[in-house]
């Protein structure tokens, strides 16, 4: 294990995917958003120019084309850039890709990956700050991965590229600067549906995905200073979801806080707490708490944005409220 930058791990796994399988094509070019890391994509562009497609500004067209290409022998990794743009492609993602295998009666496979950078990125305002994973979770037929560390992005994307199903890769530009240990084994992969306990603890279970995992780990350290031993569970994939790991943690700590960048109503947190309420109500010693974005469009002004955002402070406060 050596420490590696998340952005570097992302480029590494894309490059290896292209390198190892002729069928893998990158469609779209903003995997690293407009961050300064984006120049790292040049190594793929320069070495495999015929495998990187620069589409017109036409999300329903090129994302749909990636779906069509997946049925005709390619394994595209299509980049939708800012997650809010997936709405331009929704007819193809939700009404075509997710349905094709089922509608065909299990005949036609759609092996592809949809990558997008979701969440409140700072100054994105209402039209560049969406977290569409809950909407996608409400769409049967899509696998959903949400890596939170360099090791996880390597391991989960390898599995996603090998999968015969359309897979949404929920990413976050704030993760790009995270550094962490990553296995050097080129065959390292993470099976879908296996949660990772990112921090062991006994007093309260904190569940989070993607960038919220990093915030939650920081919140857990602050809680430790106050004598609260929090366990941080990262499901890593929403579809399939490792319900067992969440329920086992809750049965141990008897307390649950879910941190999520989706809006509160029908968000990812809403689904996770519903599962716990149905399956483990008797284990709970305190009400469940959700730390989410408020149910308003995301505002531009920094103090307004911070006010509605699920922050580290809010996670700490929620955990204290269920453990005091």
């Amino acid at each position: 294990m050596t420490d590696i930058l998340y952005a570097k791990a992302l480029v590494q796994v894309l490059r290896e995917s292209v390198e190892h399988d002729d069928r893998v094509h990158l469609m779209g070019q903003y995997f690293l958003g407009l961050t300064h890391h984006r120049e790292m994509m040049a190594e793929i562009r320069d070495n495999y120019p015929e495998r990187v497609y620069y589409p017109p500004i036409a999300e329903v067209g090129y994302v749909g084309a990636a779906i069509g290409a997946a049925m005709a022998g390619l394994r595209p990794i299509v980049d939708i850039a800012t997650a809010s743009f997936i709405f331009q492609a929704f007819p193809q993602v939700v009404n075509e890709a997710a349905n094709i295998y089922y509608m065909s009666g299990g005949k036609t496979k759609v092996p592809m990956v949809f990558h997008f950078n979701q969440g409140i990125r700072g100054g994105g305002a209402a039209q560049h700050s969406h977290s569409p994973q809950a909407m996608l979770w409400n769409t049967p037929g899509l696998e959903i991965i949400a890596p939170s560390t360099p090791a996880d992005v390597l391991g989960l994307v390898r599995t996603a590229v090998a999968s015969d199903n359309p897979t949404a890769w929920v990413d976050h530009i704030k993760l790009f600067d995270v550094t962490g240990p990553a296995p050097e084994d080129a065959n390292y992969s993470i099976p879908f549906g296996v949660a990772d306990v990112k921090r062991k603890g006994s007093d309260v279970t904190l569940v989070a995905t993607s960038w919220m995992v990093q915030k939650t780990l920081a919140a857990a350290e602050r809680l430790a200073e106050q004598g609260i031993d929090a366990e941080v569970v990262d499901p890593r994939t929403l579809v399939p979801l490792d319900e067992t790991a969440i329920l086992e943690s809750v049965s141990k700590t008897r307390r649950l806080v879910v941190a999520d960048e989706c809006h509160r109503r029908c968000g990812v947190a809403a689904e996770i707490v519903a599962i716990v309420a149905e399956e483990a109500f008797g284990d709970l010693a305190a009400p469940i708490r959700r730390v989410t974005a408020d149910d308003v469009p995301v505002p531009f002004s920094p103090p307004l944005e911070e006010y509605i955002e699920p922050t580290e402070d809010k996670i700490v406060a929620a955990a204290l409220s269920v453990t005091s």
Binding site: A58, G61, S104, G105
Partner: protein, 339 residues
């Protein structure tokens, strides 16, 4: 005029047209007795689909629409399994998961069928993208109605196809006009400001050709050029095949307003009823095709009668097979979400 093909192949094309016609008629009759939900039939467009799709080969992909029955039958699908799918039976092509709107058969080159208007256009373009990048000479055919040109997906996709010079043929079957409109030379889709519809493709710098969809020779020749162009890596083509809407398609639910087709109308003018005489005489491409085959001596009335009897039996057997087939087990609803 007839397609420039040997007589036996032309007779086979007539047979396929009749398979489609008798299949759709049987379906309409079946729907009179029971509620099988909404469906769309291909009657009146057989002379477009059969010659056009006869140019495809293994590995080529076709993407069709809600009006898919005729296209899939034209590529040789089994009418019995088609009807079973339409009735939601276990023996259907998609084991009842798709139904009339989503019949898919990979072995016939139909990987998925989208019934969302314009939904097939990006998918078909993407299949062509894959053929191009894989360096194979397969082609993708995107069948669409004139209404799909109103969707944004058309413009986004055709731009990509043109820029990348993809091996695709956009075959638009414009069935939006009735006979009077056609005579008056009107062709635009009813809610499209652009006219003619070929303007919507020619601005993207590709061949854009309007043809008479009931003229099998014109369909075949134009499609042949387009397919050869695509296989040679020379890029996409747009074809608008103009057909007259079959009167039975005018109601929300199709009705046999023109009666069951009497093949004798190909050789016996007295067999043509007064009502809808214009339809039978000039607008029905299938009857026109049969008359041309007879005129050119490729077949005789008795042979057409025999073919018709055989395909009528095929359709009847298909209905019986579909009716006799079991429904899938209810819990099958939970299967096939993921590969």
């Amino acid at each position: 005029m007839l397609p420039d093909l040997p007589g036996d192949q032309l007779v086979e094309q007539l047979r396929l047209m009749l398979v489609i016609r008798r299949f759709e008629e049987a379906l309409i009759k079946l729907a009179a007795d029971r509620d099988i939900g909404h469906f769309h039939v291909y009657i009146g467009q057989e002379a477009t689909g059969v010659p056009a799709l006869s140019l495809l080969r293994d590995g080529d992909f076709t993407f069709t629409t809600h009006r898919n029955h005729g296209h899939i039958l034209a590529r040789g699908a089994d009418p019995a399994r088609m009807l079973a799918e339409i009735l939601g039976k276990e023996t259907g092509y998609n084991r009842g998961k798709g139904g009339t709107l989503h019949i898919a058969s990979l072995e016939h080159g139909f990987p998925t069928t989208s019934a969302a208007t314009g939904g097939c256009i990006p998918l078909a373009t993407g299949a062509a993208f894959a053929f191009d990048r894989r360096g194979v000479d397969n082609v993708s055919v995107c069948l669409l109605g004139d209404g799909a040109l109103e969707e944004g997906s058309w413009h986004e996709s055709v731009n990509i196809a043109a820029l990348e010079s993809l091996p695709i043929i956009y075959l638009c079957e414009n069935n939006s006009l009735e006979a009077l409109g056609q005579k008056a030379g009107e062709y635009p889709s009813s809610t499209m400001a652009a006219a003619p519809l070929t303007d919507l493709a020619s601005i993207y710098k590709m061949p854009a050709i309007a043809i008479d969809g009931t003229d099998s020779a014109e369909v075949y020749t134009t499609m042949k050029t387009a397919v050869e162009r695509a296989r040679a890596g020379e890029g996409p083509t747009f074809i608008e095949a103009r057909t007259v809407r079959w009167p039975g398609n005018r109601p929300l639910w199709p009705q046999l307003l023109t009666g069951e087709t009497d093949v004798a109308m190909m050789w016996d003018d007295d067999a043509i009823p007064a009502e809808h005489a214009a339809w039978h005489r000039t607008n029905d491409g299938l009857l026109t095709f049969g008359r041309l085959l007879l005129a050119d001596g490729h077949t005789i009335a008795s042979q057409i009668g025999e073919i018709d009897a055989a395909v009528t039996k095929l359709a009847e057997d298909a209905v019986q097979f579909a009716l006799d087939s079991p429904y899938p087990a209810p819990e099958e609803a939970l299967a096939d979400v993921f590969a």
